[in-house]
Amino acid sequence: MATLVNPNLIDQVKQSDAFNAAACMNCGICTAVCPMGIEHLPRELFRYVLLGLEEDLLAHRDAVYSCLLCRLCEVNCPAEVHIAGNVRTLRHYLNQAVFHVKRMPRARKATTG
């Protein structure tokens, strides 16, 4: 089966300069210390984004939402990757671009009242 590459994925995911997955050197410390034992998070997921492998990112979306954002990986990361911030950015992307989480009309009206 052919793998589809989305060369614009990184630009679509990035909402600010805070997404610094490129600094990841794939050492695996994050995976080793993760309290949730998430194998694909964060290094593999970040790699999918950098390489434009959108299907692989979507296939592992549970990992994105399982992350506790506890930052234990971050304080151990030798490359000082903003891992929790990157995961939040991935959630934002998935919410908007994939799950199409949109505001309900009545809720939108209520905010302006």
Partner: protein, 321 residues
């Protein structure tokens, strides 16, 4: 994941936008803790709960109701559920905690008020305008809805001329101190956890408590807000010996709570692992976050009893009539 991520996040976001909280609770449940304290409304310094402790018994009541229905307390929300939720606050109908459960969590802001008064701080509160900070939706990446909510919360502070906010939990502390300023131009609030203030003011008890406890650092306090030394200074100050687990301070181990809204089984497994570590050191545990407190307490199997740090500190105060 066993539930619809779309609808779960959608319902939580809808609630925050239109009802000012991910899980809207009655106004009385937000303010009941302050009954009889005669605290002024507003002022330059306010004690702000962000509703976190008050929310926990309602979330737990939902968990009890819905555990049999699926993998999550939001499992019964389908597309239809989200539609209905626009008109009827489904969550409020589904779970009502007992007065005893509510009281257990309402004690904490009451404790904090008492501790702050002990060091001579004067402060007001915002009563029903003490809104949820939006922390869960921020974690879920819903920045648009949270930033709009943050602007509304900030307007409340401006309305009362608030200059300093005293927070009582790590998540509200982080949102008000480190997240809101990213979105609100000329953000002027000074935000401090009550633990920082008590340490700064040199809190001393009326009498020593004594004993031995093991401490569970909140990830958000320790790694996001660098509040590590203050709880230890305060616990030592009331005469408690603090036992440090292997994962402690900036290397603390998460209680699993943040995963509960979408992955409760995984959250429980993480909590059990943490409890195993803490229970080896002492039968008495200290938490400083309502989410840590409820998640660890549920995973103890009677091996260790957790209490909020404010309970330990108040144990050193002379009884009130």
């Amino acid at each position: 994941m066993a539930i619809s991520t779309t609808h779960t996040i959608g319902i939580l976001a809808d609630n925050l936008e239109s009802r000012k909280s991910v899980l809207p609770i009655p106004k009385d449940a937000v303010t009941h803790w302050a009954d009889g304290l005669n605290l002024p409304r507003g002022g330059e310094t306010v004690l702000y709960t962000g509703q976190m402790y008050q929310l926990i018994p309602y979330i737990e009541a939902l968990v009890t109701q819905e555990r049999k229905l699926g993998d999550s307390w939001l499992a019964s929300f389908s597309g239809v559920g989200r539609f209905v939720n626009r008109f009827i606050n489904i969550a409020a109908l589904m779970g009502r905690p007992s007065p005893e459960e509510r009281q257990r969590y309402e004690r904490i802001p009451r404790n904090v008020a008492r501790l702050l008064q002990k060091v001579g701080l004067e402060f007001g509160i915002l009563y029903e305008e003490d809104w949820y900070s939006g922390a869960l939706m921020y974690d879920l990446g819903e920045d648009e809805v949270v930033s709009a909510h943050a602007a509304k919360v900030y307007r409340i502070f401006q309305k009362y001329g608030v200059k300093r906010v005293i927070t009582i939990d790590p998540h509200t502390t982080n949102m008000l101190r480190s997240v809101y300023p990213k979105w609100i131009p000329d953000y002027q609030l000074r935000v401090q956890s009550y633990l920082e203030l008590l340490a700064e003011y040199g809190f001393t008890p009326d009498h020593p408590v004594g004993g031995e406890v093991t401490v569970h650092d909140s990830c958000v306090y320790a790694r996001y807000e660098h509040i590590i030394d203050e709880p230890r200074f305060l616990l030592n100050g009331v005469g408690l010996a603090v036992k440090e687990p292997v994962h402690s301070k900036s290397r603390t181990w998460c209680c699993g709570g943040p995963a509960e809204s979408l992955f409760p089984a995984k959250a429980e497994a993480a909590a059990k692992q943490r409890v195993n570590e803490l229970a080896q050191l002492s039968s008495q545990g200290v938490t400083m976050c309502p989410i840590c407190w409820v998640n660890l307490e549920k995973a103890t199997d009677g091996r260790i009893h957790f209490q909020d740090i404010s309970e330990w500190l108040c144990a050193g105060l002379a009884p009130t009539e």
